[in-house]
Every structure is written in structure tokens, then in C-alpha cells.
Amino acid sequence: MSKARSSLARTGAVHVALIAYTLVALFPVFLTIANSFKSRNAIFREPLAVPTPETFSLIGYETVLKQGDFIGYFQNSVVVTVVSIALVLLFGAMAAFALSEYRFRGNTLMGLYLALGIMIPIRLGTVAILQGMVATNLVNTLTALILVYTAQGLPLAVFILSEFMRTVSDDLKNAGRIDGLSEYAIFFQLVLPLIRPAMATVAVFTMIPIWNDLWFPLILAPAESTKTITLGSQIFIGQFVTNWNAVLSALSLAIFPVLVLYVIFSRQLIRGITAGAVK
């Protein structure tokens, strides 16, 4: 009896601690979104209150949408992220297949070479990357960003995907070979559909740093027409520091897509992290 009670007390304490930290984690996000829908006076008078009909105001969003080209920034971010993820998945899966399926001279070495990029950040090569982009006239194009992000995402993608490809049954592939499928058909028709869950995990992992990156947009594509949402809101907020409505609305607009995607993919992501950690 006393043991049951003490375990109940312990569970209670655990809940209290977890709720407390959950508040710490969510409060700033809540504060930003709630205040972005309030009038300027209300933001300052009662920062912690949720918007009520009296204090509700969209003035911040109006300013943001009028002043900054947020739709354009958003499009740029989507294009860069989607194309990079597609390339990382396709090329990463192809390389992972080659490394896990065939034995050839230099296989291990190739794997190590590709794994280098997991630990060494691509940022350190920025000086020469910028020179290369200048030489090829790619500065201020989305292509430059896509190339960099593809290179950045490939190492981890190859690593994770080849782990998964080793689990695809050899019998299935051999059956395909006997049926006369080419190696390409085996890859695209048999193997790729089977590793879709792993591809989703890799996609989420690849997406977060690309969507959130400030460094490369700032350096490679700072022009108005190629700004990503992260850089766009950074500059916009920098200009409007005193317009609190606009700043809070811009922040909320930047949070929103991440929030939606997270709600959709959180299970996938968390499973990916917890499964990947074991290896």
C-alpha cells in the first residue's frame, strides 16, 4: 500500500516537472503568436493575455504583407527546400544502393569519404564556395542554394539509407534479377518503394536545417528576388524593430509553416531520431 502511494507521488512529481518544462518550451512560441493578433496597446498593457474581441487586430499582418514580399520569400524557401530534398533523396538513395548492394573495390573507402560530411560542416568551405559560385555566375540564384544544400544533406542521407537498404531482402532482388529486371529497375521498382519510411525520415532531417538556414542565403543569395523566408524575416524584423505588431506578425508567419509540418510529421521525426540513435 505504502509502496503504491509512493510511486503515485513519484509519478505526480514527474508530471509536475514535465509540465513545467513544457511550459518553458512552449511559452515563448505562444507569447509570440498570441500577441501578433493584438493591437499595439494591448501588446504592451497585457502581454500575457490572449487576444479578445476588443484587443484583436491584424494590423501587424497587414504591415508585413504590404511591406515585405513575404509570399515571394516563402516561395523561394519552398522551391529551395523541396528541390534540395528531392535531389538528396534521389542521389542519396542511388549512392546508398550502390554502396550497400554491390561489392567493388573502394567500397568502404567511398563510404568513409561520403561520411566525412556528417561531421565536418559545409560552412567551413564558404570562402571557396562563394568564389566558385561567383565564377559560375550562380550568385543570387536559387540554384546556388540548392547545390549547397544538396551537398550538405547527402552524407547523412547516404548513411541512413544504406543502413536501411541492407535490410531489404536479397531473395526479392534476386527474384527480380531472374525475372530479367535490370539493376535500375530493381532499384526503382523494388527497393525504393520498400524504403519509403526511411526516405520520409531523411526528408524531415534534411528539411529542418535547410528551411532554417541563415548563413548561405545571407552569403550566396541575398538579393531581393532570391531571399528565403528565414533571411527575409531576419532583414524585415531588423528594419522594423520598433514596430512590434509587424515584428510579432512576421515571426508568427515564419513559425507557422514549421508548426504545421511538425504537427503532421512529428511522429515520423521522433521515430527517426529514436531509431537512428541506436546505431
Binding site: 544502393f97 566558385g132 539493376e183 529542418i208 538556414d213 548563413w215 524584423i237 515571426l251 514549421v258 529514436t274
Partner: protein, 354 residues
């Protein structure tokens, strides 16, 4: 464990070898895999491969080329080129090899050295604060989440991980607003718990700005140690815990004596990820404190120093060679950390396999 994994790998190879010659019709008909009369003898396969002449397997090249090309051209070559440029500089208007000259300037020249050592010191403090705050909180959260049959644990996990997904820009500005004395959210909240007298404009003071920025970064990244350690805790088999309980090891002593040693590898991974991330950090400081990493350089770290040096800022002109030199120093620091982890820590760490 090792006993199981070895033959499995050899089996995998056997199947690979078969794959090569199966495309020769002869092999496939002579020894069809699918008939399943008996499992193929590995020695037979090895002999067959030895006899057959391998055709060029172009598809391997096709599969590997795109990834290798982009990775090499955009990541590896620029990295090497950056390292190379750190040995060159413009002397009397001519671009020449200066050996370790740039490094001498960076470490010893009064115009550079003060900034560099300041940034390096701040970066080390930045990292130490992460290790000291992020790991214990992360372990505590993970330990609480892994309490068996805990309700709402999925919700807690999802919520606590959310900040990790936000961009530095969002996180930086949100905290800048919250800590701002103009808005007064932070003093108001501290008043609620009777600590208002403690409040100060932390981000604006040279002695507290670095700590404040580090803690913002910890707030953002706590999800990663939490998740990795949580996964490690879940992987501890029930039998181990049950055995401990039978021996009377429960509660705190169970955590310290049984679980903590078992999750040390996960803590190692978290630490090296934090190390690489911290010595490569830039975005958060740039967002919160600007490229000058004020007040008075007190939050300047290697990433912001590299940015200012390479691209120039306000009156300072961009300097390609010194930028490459700083990037090289960062590369060496990260390489040293990663090697230390891979070759010393990871090897010495005792791994328990179940």
C-alpha cells in the same frame, strides 16, 4: 552479439556475389536461387565467381556519380581550396604563398590576435555552458519521459522538441523581445515568483550577454539530447532493470549505477554533436546581437568573427585570406574534437550489448 552478426554479413556477401553472375543467364539457370531445394553453399558461390570473368558493372558508376559529383564539387573541393587559401595572402599587391604567415598574424598580430582569442574564449565558454546545462536537463527530461506507463509522454516529448525545429532567427528574436526591458515580459514573470530584483537587461550587459545567448541556444537545442538519451534509455532491456530490482537496487541508485553507465555512449554522441554545432555556430548570435556580436564583442564567437572577417562589416573591409585562415582554424578545432571522440573516447567507452 558479435557471434551473430558475422555470419550474417558473410551471407550478405554471398548473395551479392550471386547477384553478379546471375545476370549471366548460365548461372541463373544452373543454380536458380528460387527453387529453394537447398540453401546455396557459400564455397560453391565463391568458386563460381572466381571462374567467371566479371563484366564492367556500369550501373554502379551510374548510381554513385551524381552524389559523388555534387558532394565533391560543392563540399570537399571548396573545403580543400579554403584550407589552401589560408597559406596565401596578398603581399605588396601580389597574391603569394606566405606559409604560416596568416596564422602568425591571427595568433600574434595585435590587430587580429585580441579579436581571435576573445572569440575563441567565448566559443569555449559557449560550449561549456551547453555541456553544463543542456546535458543534465536533457538527461533529467529523458529519464522522466521514460518512466513506464507515463501518461501524456508523447505530448510532452512533442512539445519539448518543438523549439529545436524553429530557426535561429525566430528563436533569437522571440527571446530578444521577451528579455527586453521595454516589453517587460521577463520582469513581469519574475515578479510573479518574487524575483524581480534579479532582472537586468542581460543581453545588453557585457558580463551577462554571453551566458544569456548560450542559455537561449540551450533552450532551443534541449530536444536533441533529450531524444537521443530517451532512445538509449528505452533500449535498456527490462531484464537488466528487473535484475537490479531483485537485488534491491531501485530509484536513485538504480539510475546512477545501472542506467547512467548504459547511456554513456548516447551522452558521448550528444557531446560531440554539441561540440561541432557550437564551434560552427553563427546564426543565433548574428540574429540576437548583430554581426558585431556586442556588447563590446562579449558574444563574439568564431562563426561571427569569420563572417566579419571574410565579408567585411561597416568600416572593416572583407579579407579573403584571413577569412580562409579563420575557417581553417575552425576546421582544425572541429577535426580535433571529432578525432578525439572517434579514436579515444568512443574506443575507451565500454559498450554493453544485450
Amino acid at each position: 552479439m558479435a557471434g551473430i552478426s558475422k555470419p550474417r554479413r558473410r551471407h550478405g556477401r554471398g548473395a551479392d556475389e550471386c547477384a553478379h553472375f546471375e545476370r549471366h543467364r548460365g548461372c541463373a539457370t544452373r543454380k536458380p536461387v528460387r527453387t529453394g531445394q537447398r540453401p546455396m553453399n557459400k564455397r560453391e558461390i565463391m568458386m563460381d565467381v572466381g571462374e567467371l570473368k566479371r563484366p564492367r558493372r556500369w550501373h554502379i558508376l551510374v548510381f554513385l556519380t551524381p552524389a559523388l559529383l555534387i558532394y565533391t564539387a560543392v563540399m570537399i573541393l571548396p573545403l580543400i581550396e579554403t584550407l589552401r587559401q589560408s597559406f596565401f595572402n596578398t603581399v605588396d599587391g601580389e597574391y603569394t604563398f606566405v606559409g604560416l604567415g596568416n596564422f602568425n598574424v591571427l595568433f600574434g598580430d595585435p590587430r587580429w590576435a585580441a579579436d581571435f582569442w576573445n572569440a575563441l574564449r567565448n566559443n569555449v565558454i559557449f560550449f561549456l555552458i551547453h555541456m553544463a546545462v543542456q546535458n543534465p536537463i536533457g538527461i533529467a527530461l529523458a529519464a522522466m519521459l521514460s518512466v513506464p506507463k507515463l501518461r501524456f509522454s508523447a505530448f510532452y516529448r512533442t512539445a519539448i522538441f518543438l523549439p529545436t525545429l524553429l530557426s535561429f532567427v525566430i528563436v533569437g528574436f522571440i527571446w530578444k523581445l521577451i528579455l527586453s526591458p521595454i516589453w517587460g515580459v521577463a520582469p513581469y514573470l519574475m515578479d510573479l515568483v518574487g524575483l524581480k530584483w534579479l532582472f537586468a537587461p542581460w543581453l545588453g550587459r557585457p558580463d551577462s550577454a554571453l551566458i544569456a545567448v548560450s542559455l537561449i541556444s540551450v533552450w532551443q537545442y534541449i530536444g536533441i539530447p533529450m531524444m537521443l538519451i530517451y532512445a538509449a534509455l528505452l533500449n535498456i532491456p527490462d531484464e537488466v532493470i528487473e535484475a537490479a530490482e531483485l537485488d534491491g537496487v531501485t530509484g536513485w541508485s538504480q539510475f546512477w549505477k545501472i542506467k547512467l553507465p548504459l547511456i554513456l555512449p548516447a551522452i558521448g554522441i550528444v557531446s560531440i554533436l554539441t561540440f561541432v554545432g557550437n564551434f560552427n555556430a553563427f546564426d543565433l548570435i548574428y540574429t540576437v546581437q548583430g554581426a558585431l556580436a556586442g556588447p563590446n564583442g562579449s558574444t563574439d564567437i568564431l562563426g561571427t568573427l569569420l563572417y566579419r572577417t571574410f565579408f567585411g562589416f561597416q568600416l572593416q573591409l572583407g579579407d579573403r585570406s584571413m577569412g580562409a585562415t579563420i575557417a581553417t582554424v575552425m576546421f582544425l578545432i572541429i577535426l580535433a574534437g571529432v578525432s578525439l571522440y572517434l579514436f579515444v573516447i568512443q574506443r575507451r567507452m565500454r559498450r554493453y550489448q544485450f
